[in-house]
Amino acid sequence: MIQIDIIKPLHTSDGTIDLIVNKEIQNGDFLTLFGKSGSGKTTLLRILAGLETPKSGKIIVDDVVWFDSEKKINLPPQKREVGLVFQDYALFPNMSVRKNLEFALKDKKDTNKVDEILEIMEIENLSQMKPEHLSGGQKQRVAVARSLMSSPKMLLLDEPLSALDSAMRLKLQDELHSIHQRFNITSILVSHDISEVFRLSNRVFKISLGQITDDGNPSEVFANQNISGKFKVVGEVLSIVKSDILYIVEVLAHNEIIKVTAVKSDIEALNIGDKILLSSKAFNPILTKI
């Protein structure tokens, strides 16, 4: 379990605000930090990795104190044993893919581990290539592979998919999901993509100006924005859940999530991630004062 209770001043374009986090994260959770840029998502990730130091507070992970401002404890990044995937991937340009992975090994002789991870991430054929010759999606895979080399307890992902096109993003979202399942590794993802949040995480912190404004599973956190009276919208299928004899399909359209009931024949051809047209022949306009 990760217990965080910290305050860290953030210098943003709107002046200095305080990032205040007081939360507990369960082992095995896939948590997304969701919010606009400058809200403090990446800073929180960097604080967990030990790359930034909070002004005050405590971070305790599985009863080990990582940070305690009163006792002047601050575990350096080297000792925290986390995996971190940077937004720019930060692959070492002077090393081949294989050498990048070997560098991350705790025990140099453990080359079987390199082969194993190369195989899991399906990047064996890239092992001798230098990072500059890789595509964005390949770099992302190598960066995730490298962060798994030391069998970390926690995987921190800083918008790892934001630079990729949507098809590649869907594929890599699936891969991140399966890695999370396979290693049962507590994962924390920074994202501002609602569909990514739904596909990957079981918990979301919505962060705004340094404060966590919402905390819950994706449906709860985004539930209050899903009322839409539009007659016809184009959207993306986020999830299909069976509910008694009906199915509930969650559709993302223009950053809003719409829940639609459907019958079995409706959803037969539908897959998560599909683009769909949502329309209603006879609809009840809902009036809400704003």
């Binding site: 080297q78 930060a90 070492f92 002077n94």
Partner: protein, 226 residues
């Protein structure tokens, strides 16, 4: 070819070589420190490193001469404890050259460190590697052109220095008489053909060294983007 010519040229390159090796050992830690530090003293450290760029060599040579003189405190101390006399000796020339060429080594290395993306070293720390290991395995290999520039410019600059050498080294054949001094010496003696021999040699060597660096840097950059 004249024996004293060869002796002088060899001495010139020995001085430049030794100076470059010493400066490389100083320049990497100093350049790293300057690129990382957020200390308020950083401008002062940078100024001291850069002083030789603007100071007339004769000024530097004059003060070094005073400092190293066995008649004064520091020089006397060196003489007594290490029996090291830095005026009019090869060792003295090396010390003076190291000080005089410091910015030519430190600046390219410092800017090499600064130009590397911060996430490279952070990634290495998160992977559990120490600062030293990170510098050695991650940072230095990714800034080879900067290191090469530092080495070559320092070497070439030391070959070409005149004022400091004249002030502190004097003109002892085989000990402190380097090529740039020899040219001045031969011209004063109206021995133009020998002066030309020195001058042309320095010209040709400097050209060759710089050409080599630019060609190599170009091919390094090209291989990076292919």
């Amino acid at each position: 070819m004249d024996e004293s010519f060869i002796q002088t040229m060899l001495l010139t390159f020995k001085l430049a070589g030794v100076t470059t090796v010493i400066l490389l050992c100083i320049g990497i830690p100093l350049g790293y420190f300057l690129s990382q530090t957020k200390s308020k003293l950083k401008p002062i450290a940078e100024t001291i490193v850069s002083m030789p760029l603007v100071l007339p060599p004769s000024v530097l040579g004059f003060y070094l001469l005073l400092a190293f003189s066995p008649k004064n405190g520091f020089g006397a101390w060196l003489d007594e404890i290490f029996s090291l006399r830095l005026v009019f000796s090869f060792e003295g020339l090396v010390v003076a050259s190291v000080i005089f060429s410091l910015p030519f080594m430190v600046h390219p290395i410092q800017s090499g460190f600064s130009s590397l993306n911060k996430s490279l070293s952070e990634a290495s720390y998160v992977l559990g590697k120490s600062k030293l290991r990170t510098i050695y395995s991650v940072l230095l290999p990714n800034m080879k052109p900067s290191i090469l520039t530092g080495i070559v410019i320092t070497f070439a600059h030391t070959v070409g220095e005149f004022g400091v050498v004249l002030m502190i080294g004097g003109n002892k054949a085989g000990e402190t008489k380097v090529a740039s001094i020899a040219i001045y010496d031969e011209v004063e003696a109206l021995n133009y053909s020998l002066a030309n021999q020195y001058a042309f040699s320095l010209f040709a060597i400097s050209f060759a060294i710089l050409l080599f660096v630019y060609a190599l840097n170009k091919s390094m950059v090209r291989s990076k983007f292919q």
